[in-house]
């Protein structure tokens, strides 16, 4: 069973739909025992960082998430709140990845919205993926590249398209909305 973390961030259903299409059952939950017993945990997210962190903290999920041992995937806002801090609402985050999240400088249209390719990719999520493949992004904040960055995308500045530390994976793009390329990446995660 795949657990999708329930918190006050929108598109939980798209992730669940994507898992269904790939043949995986999932539950949406914020209950600790279900999260701990899941084979994989996914933290999707669109929304606002400060209120998302507050929701997690109020339920003690910040501590639970950091202690999980199974493969864990944060998506979009999920990636950002796995970093050290974010400029969005000046929020301290989960500090799994050693990166700060900043707002894009205004030298381009914000949000970064649409399909973009990679400057570099590495690690198990990107098996079978070419750097010229495109994935779908929609975000106004980005994680600076750091030592846990596993893929880099460039929009105005180079930023972390994906990150990994131990069992913790994260993508700034939405694999569940990235067509067949996204399905390969999600499948790579689900097969870990």
């Amino acid at each position: 069973m795949i657990a999708i973390i329930k918190y006050n961030a929108g598109n939980v259903r798209s992730v669940q739909n994507a898992l269904n299409r790939l043949g995986y059952e999932s539950i949406v939950t914020d209950r600790e025992p279900l999260l701990r017993n899941a084979q994989k945990v996914i933290m999707p997210g669109v929304g606002e960082a400060a209120s998302a962190m507050k929701y997690l903290k109020n339920r003690g999920l910040d501590v639970v998430i950091k202690s999980l041992k199974q493969p864990f995937l944060g998506i979009c806002l999920g990636l950002q709140i796995m970093c050290r801090s974010t400029e969005e609402g000046n929020t301290l985050c989960l500090n799994i990845f050693d990166a700060r999240v900043k707002r894009f400088p205004p030298q381009g249209r914000i949000p970064h919205m649409g399909w973009n390719d990679f400057e570099s990719i590495s690690g198990p999520l990107f098996e079978g993926i070419d750097i010229r493949d495109n994935v779908y992004y929609v975000h106004s904040f980005y994680a600076e590249p750091c030592r846990q960055t596993s893929a880099v995308c460039r929009y105005i500045v180079p930023f972390s398209a994906a990150m990994q530390k131990d069992n913790f994976f994260a993508t700034q793009f939405h694999p569940e909305k990235s067509g067949s390329t996204g399905e390969i990446i999600l499948n790579n995660f689900l097969r870990l």
């Binding site: 929108g10 598109n11 259903r13 798209s14 739909n17 994507a18 269904n20 299409r21 669109v46 929304g47 606002e48 205004p106 249209r109 914000i110 949000p111 970064h112 919205m113 649409g114 399909w115 973009n116 390719d117 495109n134 779908y136 929609v138 975000h139 106004s140 460039r154 929009y155 939405h174 569940e176 909305k177 990235s178 067509g179 067949s180 996204g182 399905e183």
Partner: protein, 250 residues
């Protein structure tokens, strides 16, 4: 590099895709879910569903359709048509819509934009603007293009951006369904005046029209309906044409 987006638009009436000319004379163009799936497989970058009869029909029907679409589609999709409250937005987002397009209700009550942005994020709010060139300026129309309002298009999109709209979907009523090309002047001006992405809509008839759009304006997406529905242009051949003209597409 960020790619320009090609977005088929499905106008929905009673769960069927329809297409009119200049907002009237509506014809059937196929089942919505089937068309959506076909376009996704052909390489559509996003899909837009506009429920053109939403205000007068039961909203539940639309939520059910959105659920069916969301179950099958792995690219982003926007739903619009008669959305007037946070409850409407919430129902659609939880049914699986990625973005919500608002038009008439946002003109009548602009705070709706900031309310949706606060609750679901700016990326969720697409401001749809129907515009028409009237006595020397581009004016905003509401109620599916039936009612002019005393609002200049440029002023309205800037206000909407400041209130938290994440994207502008600009439709020129003068060009819609005519297939003579996008309204490059107003699309160019709108895309210069706002710093959020602009989707141009109305008038696409040939592949060159998309090339003109992406080379002569800063719009980052082109939306069309009938040329795709009736097979006049296929998405793969359009993308191939744009690539050979050095325009970045997926």
């Amino acid at each position: 590099m960020l790619k320009n987006r090609i977005i088929p638009c499905l106008d929905i009436k009673d769960g069927r895709t329809v297409k009119g000319v200049n907002f009237v004379d509506i014809k059937d163009a196929g089942d919505a879910v089937e068309l959506a799936e076909k376009y996704m497989e052909q390489g559509a970058d996003e899909l837009v569903f506009l429920d053109i009869t939403a205000s007068s029909e039961k909203r539940k029907t639309r939520v059910e359709l959105v659920k069916r679409i969301a179950a099958r589609i792995s690219i982003p999709f926007t739903v619009g048509g008669g959305i007037a409250s946070i409850q409407d937005v919430s129902d659609l987002v939880f049914a699986g819509a990625d973005k919500i397009s608002v038009n008439t209700s946002a003109v009548l009550r602009p705070e709706l934009i900031s309310e949706i942005a606060r609750e679901f994020g700016s990326q969720c709010v697409v401001l749809a603007v129907d515009t028409k060139y009237v006595s020397g300026s581009w004016q905003v129309y509401i109620h599916g293009g039936k009612t002019p309002v005393p609002l200049k298009t440029i002023d309205w999109v800037r206000q909407a951006e400041s209130m938290g709209a994440g994207e502008i979907l600009l439709t020129s009523m003068d060009h819609d369904g005519i297939k003579n090309g996008f309204a490059l002047d107003i699309t160019g001006r709108v895309s210069e005046k706002v710093n959020i992405p602009v989707i141009a809509s109305g008038g696409a008839g040939t592949m060159k029209h998309f090339r003109d759009l992406f080379t002569r304006t800063q719009a980052t997406a082109g939306l069309a309906a009938s040329i795709f529905h009736y097979g006049k242009i296929s998405i793969p051949e359009l993308k191939h044409y744009l690539k050979t003209n050095n325009i970045q597409v997926r």
